[in-house]
């Protein structure tokens, strides 16, 4: 393995497993992100406000990034959050997850852990019971691991 290629190769090797070479894949483009969002939102207007995205601005490893999306909603039968959708800008695929909830949730909040291939923007969108869409974006800086495993 030529050492000068280390920047591009993240190798994960454990006994009994196949050595995997993660060549930094083709990044999703802002256009792909836009298309993925339009697939969910359609022609509806995207508004800002109501939705909040908690994600560390600086993460120690992009493989496991904790993230919480919450929406200011009374969560009543008349006014609730139908779904939450999360997207990324630079992974090979722009979708992260779709989360479907309803007034019975009591609180419109979802947490998960995501992968971010590089420093990039994460977008969260909430669909409310009146079919309005609300969005928020956050920039995340991913610290690249200083030492990665290599095949010897």
């Amino acid at each position: 393995m030529p050492s000068t290629r280390r920047q591009f190769l993240h190798l994960t090797v454990a006994a009994g497993t196949i050595p995997i070479v993660t060549i930094r894949p083709i990044e999703a483009t802002p256009a792909m992100l836009g298309t993925a969002i339009r697939n969910v939102v359609g022609e509806a207007q995207l508004r800002t406000g109501k939705i909040r995205l908690d994600i560390p601005p600086l993460v120690e490893n992009g493989n496991t990034v904790p993230m919480t999306v919450s929406v200011a909603s009374p969560m009543t039968a008349a006014d609730y959050v139908k779904s939450i959708h999360v997207f990324n800008e630079k992974n090979p695929q722009p979708n992260i997850g779709n989360f479907h909830l309803g007034p019975w949730a009591g609180r419109a909040q979802v947490s998960t852990r995501i992968r971010l291939a590089d420093s990039q923007k994460v977008v969260a969108i909430a669909r409310l019971s009146d079919d309005s869409f609300w969005q928020v974006a956050a920039d995340v800086v991913v610290t690249l691991a200083a030492c990665t495993e290599e095949v010897n």
């Binding site: 190798l11 196949i18 050595p19 995997i20 070479v21 993660t22 060549i23 894949p25 493989n63 496991t64 990034v65 904790p66 919480t68 990324n88 992974n91 090979p92 695929q93 979708n95 992260i96 997850g97 779709n98 989360f99 479907h100 909830l101 309803g102 019975w104 949730a105 009591g106 609180r107 419109a108 909040q109 979802v110 947490s111 998960t112 852990r113 995501i114 992968r115 971010l116 095949v151």
Partner: protein, 106 residues
């Protein structure tokens, strides 16, 4: 071996908003990685998670390769009745895993 960690409060007062947390074993192979020989490692992810409360779906998630290995999910529901919360993870290659937890609502 598929194992899951479920965190549901064993008891709650009627009307309380309770947090449900799940963690399940899965590699979440993205389908974008290659072996040293250059072959694409096939995608193997959980694509769907559902939680039912006494038989009624209360939360569903569509998951993509950008979800980290050993997926963690936390969400909320209003404690309505005593009973059972059932969890189901469905994924590539016929992956199905289920778990359940009971709750007493007073």
């Amino acid at each position: 071996m598929a194992s899951a960690l479920i965190n549901v409060p064993p008891k709650a007062k009627r009307g309380d908003v309770i947090e449900i947390r799940t963690l399940t074993s899965h590699i979440m192979e993205t389908g974008f990685r290659r072996t040293a020989a250059g072959e694409l490692v096939p995608r193997d992810i959980i694509t769907s998670f559902t939680c039912r409360y006494n038989g009624t779906e209360i939360f569903r998630a569509d998951l993509f390769p950008a979800i980290a290995a050993n997926p963690y999910l936390s969400f909320f529901t209003v404690a309505k009745d005593s009973g059972k919360l059932e969890f189901e993870w469905i994924g590539d290659n016929g992956f199905v895993s289920t778990a359940s937890a009971s709750i007493t609502v007073e």
